[in-house]
Protein backbone atom coordinates (compact mmCIF):
# COMPACT_ATOMS: atom_id res chain seq x y z
CA UNK A 1 0.00 0.00 0.00
CA UNK A 2 1.46 3.33 -1.00
CA UNK A 3 1.72 6.23 1.40
CA UNK A 4 -1.05 8.80 1.65
CA UNK A 5 -0.37 11.17 -1.27
CA UNK A 6 -1.46 14.18 0.78
CA UNK A 7 1.20 13.35 3.38
CA UNK A 8 3.81 12.77 0.71
CA UNK A 9 3.24 16.19 -0.79
CA UNK A 10 2.73 17.76 2.66
CA UNK A 11 -0.58 19.41 1.83
CA UNK A 12 -3.91 19.49 3.63
CA UNK A 13 -6.78 17.42 2.30
CA UNK A 14 -8.66 20.58 1.34
CA UNK A 15 -5.69 22.18 -0.42
CA UNK A 16 -6.46 23.81 -3.77
CA UNK A 17 -5.14 22.30 -7.03
CA UNK A 18 -2.85 25.29 -7.20
CA UNK A 19 -1.35 24.55 -3.76
CA UNK A 20 -0.85 20.93 -4.76
CA UNK A 21 1.00 21.93 -7.90
CA UNK A 22 3.18 24.32 -5.92
CA UNK A 23 3.97 21.67 -3.34
CA UNK A 24 4.87 19.20 -6.07
CA UNK A 25 7.11 21.64 -7.87
CA UNK A 26 8.88 22.63 -4.68
CA UNK A 27 9.65 19.00 -3.80
CA UNK A 28 10.42 17.86 -7.34
CA UNK A 29 12.97 20.63 -7.86
CA UNK A 30 14.80 19.46 -4.77
CA UNK A 31 14.50 15.76 -5.49
CA UNK A 32 14.61 15.18 -9.25
CA UNK A 33 17.48 12.70 -9.75
CA UNK A 34 18.64 14.44 -12.90
CA UNK A 35 18.91 17.76 -11.15
CA UNK A 36 20.79 16.08 -8.29
CA UNK A 37 23.04 13.57 -10.02
CA UNK A 38 25.11 12.92 -6.91
CA UNK A 39 22.23 12.25 -4.55
CA UNK A 40 21.31 8.57 -4.52
CA UNK A 41 18.40 8.86 -2.10
CA UNK A 42 16.69 11.48 -4.21
CA UNK A 43 15.43 8.87 -6.67
CA UNK A 44 13.12 6.96 -4.30
CA UNK A 45 11.75 10.13 -2.79
CA UNK A 46 11.18 11.63 -6.20
CA UNK A 47 9.29 8.55 -7.33
CA UNK A 48 7.04 8.78 -4.30
CA UNK A 49 6.40 12.45 -4.86
CA UNK A 50 5.60 12.04 -8.55
CA UNK A 51 3.31 9.08 -7.85
CA UNK A 52 1.46 11.23 -5.32
CA UNK A 53 1.21 14.04 -7.83
CA UNK A 54 -0.07 11.67 -10.50
CA UNK A 55 -3.09 11.16 -8.26
CA UNK A 56 -3.61 14.59 -6.73
CA UNK A 57 -2.44 16.74 -9.64
CA UNK A 58 -5.45 15.73 -11.69
CA UNK A 59 -8.69 17.05 -10.16
CA UNK A 60 -10.67 14.07 -11.48
CA UNK A 61 -8.32 11.42 -10.16
CA UNK A 62 -8.05 13.29 -6.90
CA UNK A 63 -11.83 13.26 -6.46
CA UNK A 64 -11.92 9.54 -7.18
CA UNK A 65 -9.14 8.99 -4.68
CA UNK A 66 -11.01 11.04 -2.07
CA UNK A 67 -14.12 8.93 -2.63
CA UNK A 68 -12.01 5.82 -2.17
CA UNK A 69 -12.57 4.60 -5.72
CA UNK A 70 -8.87 4.30 -6.42
CA UNK A 71 -5.94 3.99 -4.09
CA UNK A 72 -2.55 5.54 -4.38
CA UNK A 73 -0.74 2.33 -5.20
CA UNK A 74 -0.22 1.33 -8.78
CA UNK A 75 -0.65 4.91 -9.85
CA UNK A 76 3.07 5.32 -10.21
CA UNK A 77 4.63 5.68 -13.61
CA UNK A 78 6.02 2.69 -15.36
CA UNK A 79 9.62 2.05 -14.47
CA UNK A 80 11.48 5.22 -15.35
CA UNK A 81 15.17 5.22 -16.04
CA UNK A 82 16.72 8.53 -15.29
CA UNK A 83 18.95 10.44 -17.62
CA UNK A 84 21.79 10.44 -15.11
CA UNK A 85 21.97 6.65 -15.36
CA UNK A 86 23.22 7.02 -18.94
CA UNK A 87 24.57 10.51 -19.32
CA UNK A 88 27.81 10.00 -17.47
CA UNK A 89 28.68 6.95 -19.50
CA UNK A 90 28.98 9.18 -22.51
CA UNK A 91 26.48 9.68 -25.31
CA UNK A 92 25.84 12.03 -28.19
CA UNK A 93 24.89 14.64 -25.60
CA UNK A 94 28.15 14.51 -23.66
CA UNK A 95 29.57 18.00 -23.31
CA UNK A 96 33.10 19.05 -22.46
CA UNK A 97 32.14 22.72 -22.23
CA UNK A 98 32.31 22.54 -18.44
CA UNK A 99 36.07 21.94 -18.43
CA UNK A 100 37.36 22.56 -21.96
CA UNK A 101 39.38 25.56 -20.70
CA UNK A 102 41.47 23.30 -18.44
CA UNK A 103 42.78 21.54 -21.48
CA UNK A 104 44.90 24.42 -22.76
CA UNK A 105 47.98 24.25 -20.56
CA UNK A 106 47.48 21.64 -17.92
CA UNK A 107 49.09 18.26 -17.55
CA UNK A 108 45.59 17.06 -18.30
CA UNK A 109 45.65 18.39 -21.84
CA UNK A 110 46.61 15.01 -23.16
CA UNK A 111 43.78 13.45 -21.28
CA UNK A 112 41.21 15.93 -22.53
CA UNK A 113 42.58 16.17 -26.01
CA UNK A 114 42.18 12.48 -26.56
CA UNK A 115 38.67 12.60 -27.86
CA UNK A 116 39.01 15.63 -30.04
CA UNK A 117 41.69 14.35 -32.33
CA UNK A 118 40.27 13.32 -35.66
CA UNK A 119 41.23 10.02 -37.16
CA UNK A 120 42.61 10.52 -40.61
CA UNK A 121 41.53 7.14 -41.85
CA UNK A 122 38.05 6.16 -40.85
CA UNK A 123 35.86 3.21 -41.54
CA UNK A 124 32.42 4.17 -42.82
CA UNK A 125 29.60 3.92 -40.31
CA UNK A 126 27.12 1.07 -40.21
CA UNK A 127 23.60 1.66 -41.38
CA UNK A 128 20.64 0.03 -39.66
CA UNK A 129 17.58 -1.28 -41.38
CA UNK A 130 14.63 -3.26 -40.22
CA UNK A 131 12.88 -5.91 -42.26
CA UNK A 132 9.60 -7.58 -41.42
CA UNK A 133 9.14 -11.16 -42.59
CA UNK A 134 6.28 -13.60 -42.67
CA UNK A 135 6.69 -16.50 -40.27
CA UNK A 136 7.10 -19.07 -43.03
CA UNK A 137 9.45 -16.91 -45.14
CA UNK A 138 11.77 -16.61 -42.16
CA UNK A 139 11.82 -20.38 -41.74
CA UNK A 140 12.15 -21.32 -45.39
CA UNK A 141 14.50 -18.46 -46.34
CA UNK A 142 14.58 -16.51 -49.58
CA UNK A 143 15.55 -13.19 -51.06
CA UNK A 144 14.26 -9.75 -50.21
CA UNK A 145 15.05 -6.31 -51.47
CA UNK A 146 15.23 -3.08 -49.52
CA UNK A 147 14.88 0.09 -51.55
CA UNK A 148 17.19 2.77 -50.21
CA UNK A 149 16.22 6.45 -50.20
CA UNK A 150 18.60 7.16 -53.06
CA UNK A 151 16.67 4.69 -55.20
CA UNK A 152 19.30 1.97 -55.16
CA UNK A 153 18.32 -1.51 -54.13
CA UNK A 154 19.88 -3.63 -51.46
CA UNK A 155 19.56 -7.39 -51.93
CA UNK A 156 19.10 -9.27 -48.70
CA UNK A 157 19.56 -13.00 -48.60
CA UNK A 158 17.38 -14.51 -45.90
CA UNK A 159 19.01 -17.75 -44.76
CA UNK A 160 16.56 -20.56 -43.90
CA UNK A 161 15.81 -20.66 -40.17
CA UNK A 162 16.17 -16.92 -39.60
CA UNK A 163 14.70 -15.96 -36.25
CA UNK A 164 12.98 -12.91 -34.81
CA UNK A 165 15.44 -10.24 -33.64
CA UNK A 166 18.31 -11.70 -35.64
CA UNK A 167 20.57 -9.13 -37.29
CA UNK A 168 21.90 -9.87 -40.75
CA UNK A 169 25.18 -8.12 -41.52
CA UNK A 170 25.79 -7.15 -45.14
CA UNK A 171 29.49 -6.40 -45.37
CA UNK A 172 30.46 -3.19 -47.08
CA UNK A 173 26.88 -2.07 -47.68
CA UNK A 174 26.98 0.79 -45.14
CA UNK A 175 28.37 4.30 -45.54
CA UNK A 176 31.57 4.72 -47.47
CA UNK A 177 34.75 5.26 -45.48
CA UNK A 178 36.99 8.33 -45.20
CA UNK A 179 40.57 8.60 -46.33
CA UNK A 180 40.73 5.10 -47.74
CA UNK A 181 38.93 3.49 -44.84
CA UNK A 182 36.70 0.60 -45.78
CA UNK A 183 32.94 1.09 -45.94
CA UNK A 184 30.67 0.21 -43.02
CA UNK A 185 28.15 -2.59 -42.99
CA UNK A 186 24.41 -2.64 -43.41
CA UNK A 187 22.79 -4.23 -40.39
CA UNK A 188 19.34 -5.58 -41.08
CA UNK A 189 17.28 -6.43 -38.05
CA UNK A 190 14.69 -9.07 -38.75
CA UNK A 191 11.25 -8.95 -37.28
CA UNK A 192 9.18 -12.08 -37.77
CA UNK A 193 5.41 -11.75 -37.80
CA UNK A 194 3.58 -14.37 -35.73
CA UNK A 195 1.77 -17.20 -37.50
CA UNK A 196 -1.88 -18.10 -37.18
CA UNK A 197 -1.27 -21.70 -36.11
CA UNK A 198 2.46 -22.28 -35.68
CA UNK A 199 4.64 -21.12 -32.85
CA UNK A 200 8.38 -21.45 -32.81
CA UNK A 201 10.61 -22.39 -29.88
CA UNK A 202 14.24 -22.42 -30.92
CA UNK A 203 14.46 -24.80 -33.84
CA UNK A 204 11.20 -26.56 -33.08
CA UNK A 205 7.72 -25.79 -34.33
CA UNK A 206 4.70 -26.28 -32.12
CA UNK A 207 1.18 -26.69 -33.38
CA UNK A 208 -2.16 -27.57 -31.77
CA UNK A 209 -4.07 -30.16 -33.77
CA UNK A 210 -7.82 -30.57 -33.19
CA UNK A 211 -9.02 -34.18 -33.60
CA UNK A 212 -12.48 -35.67 -33.45
CA UNK A 213 -13.75 -38.00 -30.74
CA UNK A 214 -13.64 -41.01 -33.03
CA UNK A 215 -10.10 -40.20 -34.19
CA UNK A 216 -9.09 -39.92 -30.54
CA UNK A 217 -10.62 -43.24 -29.56
CA UNK A 218 -9.94 -45.34 -32.64
CA UNK A 219 -6.81 -43.70 -34.00
CA UNK A 220 -6.17 -43.31 -37.72
CA UNK A 221 -4.46 -41.13 -40.27
CA UNK A 222 -4.74 -37.34 -40.10
CA UNK A 223 -3.26 -34.49 -42.15
CA UNK A 224 -0.98 -32.17 -40.19
CA UNK A 225 0.25 -28.80 -41.46
CA UNK A 226 4.02 -28.22 -41.33
CA UNK A 227 6.04 -25.20 -42.50
CA UNK A 228 6.78 -27.05 -45.75
CA UNK A 229 3.24 -28.27 -46.44
CA UNK A 230 0.96 -30.82 -44.82
CA UNK A 231 1.95 -34.40 -44.12
CA UNK A 232 0.06 -37.49 -43.04
CA UNK A 233 0.49 -38.67 -39.48
CA UNK A 234 -0.83 -41.83 -37.87
CA UNK A 235 -2.70 -41.34 -34.61
CA UNK A 236 -2.46 -44.28 -32.20
CA UNK A 237 -5.67 -45.50 -30.55
CA UNK A 238 -6.57 -43.63 -27.37
CA UNK A 239 -4.92 -40.36 -28.31
CA UNK A 240 -5.97 -38.01 -25.54
CA UNK A 241 -6.06 -34.21 -25.38
CA UNK A 242 -2.61 -32.98 -24.44
CA UNK A 243 -0.76 -35.86 -26.05
CA UNK A 244 2.28 -34.53 -27.87
CA UNK A 245 3.47 -36.30 -31.01
CA UNK A 246 6.73 -35.49 -32.70
CA UNK A 247 7.28 -35.13 -36.44
CA UNK A 248 10.99 -35.55 -36.74
CA UNK A 249 12.79 -33.14 -39.04
CA UNK A 250 9.71 -31.04 -39.78
CA UNK A 251 10.96 -28.05 -37.80
CA UNK A 252 13.28 -25.18 -38.58
CA UNK A 253 16.41 -25.71 -40.74
CA UNK A 254 19.68 -25.20 -38.88
CA UNK A 255 22.94 -23.84 -40.22
CA UNK A 256 24.53 -27.32 -40.28
CA UNK A 257 21.80 -28.59 -42.60
CA UNK A 258 19.90 -30.55 -39.97
CA UNK A 259 16.40 -29.58 -38.92
CA UNK A 260 14.40 -29.14 -35.74
CA UNK A 261 11.20 -31.09 -35.09
CA UNK A 262 7.54 -30.27 -35.16
CA UNK A 263 5.59 -31.03 -32.00
CA UNK A 264 1.91 -31.69 -32.44
CA UNK A 265 -0.29 -31.25 -29.38
CA UNK A 266 -3.62 -33.04 -29.73
CA UNK A 267 -6.88 -31.47 -28.72
CA UNK A 268 -9.99 -33.66 -28.72
CA UNK A 269 -12.98 -31.68 -30.00
CA UNK A 270 -16.64 -32.59 -29.65
CA UNK A 271 -18.86 -31.72 -32.65
CA UNK A 272 -19.85 -28.07 -32.52
CA UNK A 273 -23.59 -28.78 -32.62
CA UNK A 274 -25.12 -31.27 -30.17
CA UNK A 275 -25.50 -34.66 -31.82
CA UNK A 276 -28.46 -36.69 -30.49
CA UNK A 277 -26.96 -39.92 -31.76
CA UNK A 278 -23.78 -39.35 -29.82
CA UNK A 279 -25.75 -38.40 -26.70
CA UNK A 280 -27.78 -41.59 -26.75
CA UNK A 281 -24.67 -43.57 -27.41
CA UNK A 282 -22.71 -42.05 -24.54
CA UNK A 283 -25.66 -42.40 -22.17
CA UNK A 284 -25.37 -46.12 -22.72
CA UNK A 285 -21.66 -46.09 -21.94
CA UNK A 286 -21.02 -47.95 -18.70
CA UNK A 287 -17.36 -47.03 -18.24
CA UNK A 288 -16.24 -45.61 -14.92
CA UNK A 289 -13.46 -43.05 -15.13
CA UNK A 290 -12.83 -39.94 -13.03
CA UNK A 291 -10.32 -37.63 -14.75
CA UNK A 292 -10.25 -35.40 -11.65
CA UNK A 293 -8.91 -38.01 -9.28
CA UNK A 294 -5.50 -36.36 -8.98
CA UNK A 295 -7.08 -33.03 -8.02
CA UNK A 296 -9.09 -34.43 -5.13
CA UNK A 297 -6.81 -36.36 -2.81
Amino acid sequence: MAADPYMVLGVKRNASQDDIQKAYRRLAKKLHPDLNPGNKQAEDQFKEVSAAYDVLGDADKRARYDRGEIDASGMGRPQQRFYRDFAEGGSQYTSDAGFADFAADDILSEFFGREGRANIRMRGSDVHYRLELDFLDAINGGKRQITLPDGSILDVNIPPGTSDGQVLRLRGKGRSGMGGGRPGDALVEIEVRPHRIFTRKGDDIHVDLPISLSEAVLGGKVRVPTPTGSVTMTLPRWSNTGTVLRLKGKGVPRIDGSKGDEFVTLKVMLPEKPDPELETFVAKWQGVYSPRQAMEA
Binding site: L35, Y83, R84, H128
Partner: protein, 126 residues
Amino acid sequence: MESLEFVLQARIDANVLSQWIEAGWLAPHRTDTAQYFSEVDLARAHLVHDLQQLGVNDEGISVILDLVDQLHGVRRVLREILSSIDAQPESARHQLLAGLHQAMSERASDVCGPTQTRDRQAGQSF
Protein backbone atom coordinates in the same frame (compact mmCIF):
# COMPACT_ATOMS: atom_id res chain seq x y z
CA MET B 1 13.79 1.95 -31.47
CA GLU B 2 12.14 3.89 -34.25
CA SER B 3 10.09 7.08 -33.95
CA LEU B 4 6.76 5.32 -33.58
CA GLU B 5 7.83 3.18 -30.67
CA PHE B 6 9.67 6.09 -29.14
CA VAL B 7 6.65 8.41 -29.01
CA LEU B 8 4.65 5.60 -27.42
CA GLN B 9 7.26 4.90 -24.78
CA ALA B 10 7.96 8.56 -24.09
CA ARG B 11 4.22 9.27 -24.16
CA ILE B 12 4.47 12.30 -26.38
CA ASP B 13 2.91 13.31 -29.70
CA ALA B 14 4.74 12.84 -32.97
CA ASN B 15 4.74 16.59 -33.63
CA VAL B 16 6.01 17.28 -30.12
CA LEU B 17 8.85 14.89 -30.91
CA SER B 18 9.85 16.83 -34.01
CA GLN B 19 9.73 20.09 -32.03
CA TRP B 20 12.04 18.63 -29.41
CA ILE B 21 14.44 17.42 -32.05
CA GLU B 22 14.36 20.82 -33.72
CA ALA B 23 15.07 22.50 -30.39
CA GLY B 24 18.11 20.26 -30.04
CA TRP B 25 16.74 18.59 -26.93
CA LEU B 26 16.88 15.19 -28.58
CA ALA B 27 19.46 14.04 -31.09
CA PRO B 28 18.45 10.60 -32.41
CA HIS B 29 20.77 8.57 -34.55
CA ARG B 30 19.79 9.26 -38.15
CA THR B 31 20.06 7.13 -41.21
CA ASP B 32 18.85 8.23 -44.61
CA THR B 33 15.48 6.61 -44.12
CA ALA B 34 14.71 6.82 -40.46
CA GLN B 35 15.82 7.95 -37.06
CA TYR B 36 16.66 5.63 -34.23
CA PHE B 37 16.32 6.34 -30.54
CA SER B 38 18.19 4.76 -27.68
CA GLU B 39 17.52 4.41 -23.97
CA VAL B 40 19.47 7.63 -23.44
CA ASP B 41 17.06 9.51 -25.67
CA LEU B 42 14.14 8.02 -23.81
CA ALA B 43 15.50 9.00 -20.40
CA ARG B 44 16.22 12.46 -21.73
CA ALA B 45 12.67 12.79 -23.03
CA HIS B 46 11.40 11.90 -19.56
CA LEU B 47 13.63 14.62 -18.14
CA VAL B 48 12.21 17.19 -20.57
CA HIS B 49 8.72 16.10 -19.64
CA ASP B 50 9.49 16.40 -15.92
CA LEU B 51 10.99 19.84 -16.42
CA GLN B 52 7.83 20.97 -18.18
CA GLN B 53 5.81 19.66 -15.23
CA LEU B 54 8.01 21.77 -13.00
CA GLY B 55 6.88 24.82 -14.93
CA VAL B 56 10.16 25.41 -16.74
CA ASN B 57 9.62 27.19 -20.07
CA ASP B 58 11.28 26.22 -23.36
CA GLU B 59 14.26 28.55 -23.03
CA GLY B 60 14.77 27.32 -19.47
CA ILE B 61 14.76 23.71 -20.65
CA SER B 62 17.50 24.38 -23.20
CA VAL B 63 19.64 26.06 -20.53
CA ILE B 64 19.05 23.27 -18.00
CA LEU B 65 19.80 20.48 -20.48
CA ASP B 66 23.00 22.22 -21.49
CA LEU B 67 24.12 22.64 -17.89
CA VAL B 68 23.10 19.09 -16.97
CA ASP B 69 25.19 17.80 -19.89
CA GLN B 70 28.14 19.91 -18.80
CA LEU B 71 27.73 18.65 -15.25
CA HIS B 72 27.74 15.05 -16.44
CA GLY B 73 30.81 15.75 -18.54
CA VAL B 74 32.58 17.12 -15.48
CA ARG B 75 31.41 14.23 -13.31
CA ARG B 76 32.67 11.80 -15.88
CA VAL B 77 36.12 13.34 -16.00
CA LEU B 78 36.22 13.61 -12.22
CA ARG B 79 35.37 9.94 -11.94
CA GLU B 80 38.09 9.01 -14.40
CA ILE B 81 40.63 11.10 -12.52
CA LEU B 82 39.60 9.55 -9.21
CA SER B 83 39.80 6.03 -10.55
CA SER B 84 43.23 6.66 -12.05
CA ILE B 85 44.39 8.10 -8.71
CA ASP B 86 42.98 5.01 -7.08
CA ALA B 87 45.06 2.84 -9.38
CA GLN B 88 48.33 4.55 -8.30
CA PRO B 89 50.67 2.95 -5.76
CA GLU B 90 49.90 3.96 -2.20
CA SER B 91 52.79 6.41 -1.78
CA ALA B 92 51.80 8.35 -4.91
CA ARG B 93 48.21 8.38 -3.77
CA HIS B 94 49.16 9.85 -0.39
CA GLN B 95 51.29 12.49 -2.04
CA LEU B 96 48.47 13.50 -4.35
CA LEU B 97 45.92 13.66 -1.55
CA ALA B 98 48.25 15.66 0.66
CA GLY B 99 48.80 18.16 -2.16
CA LEU B 100 45.08 18.37 -2.76
CA HIS B 101 44.39 18.86 0.93
CA GLN B 102 46.90 21.67 1.13
CA ALA B 103 45.50 23.42 -1.93
CA MET B 104 42.01 23.26 -0.50
CA SER B 105 42.96 24.62 2.91
CA GLU B 106 44.96 27.46 1.34
CA ARG B 107 42.01 28.45 -0.73
CA ALA B 108 39.67 28.18 2.23
CA SER B 109 41.78 30.61 4.30
CA ASP B 110 42.06 32.99 1.32
CA VAL B 111 38.35 33.17 0.84
CA CYS B 112 37.01 32.82 4.34
CA GLY B 113 38.97 35.62 6.06
CA PRO B 114 36.85 38.60 5.07
CA THR B 115 33.61 36.74 4.37
CA GLN B 116 33.42 35.29 7.84
CA THR B 117 33.14 38.72 9.45
CA ARG B 118 30.56 39.73 6.89
CA ASP B 119 28.53 36.63 7.70
CA ARG B 120 28.56 37.48 11.37
CA GLN B 121 27.30 40.95 10.75
CA ALA B 122 24.54 39.64 8.59
CA GLY B 123 23.59 37.22 11.34
CA GLN B 124 23.26 40.00 13.87
CA SER B 125 21.06 42.16 11.76
CA PHE B 126 18.37 39.47 11.57
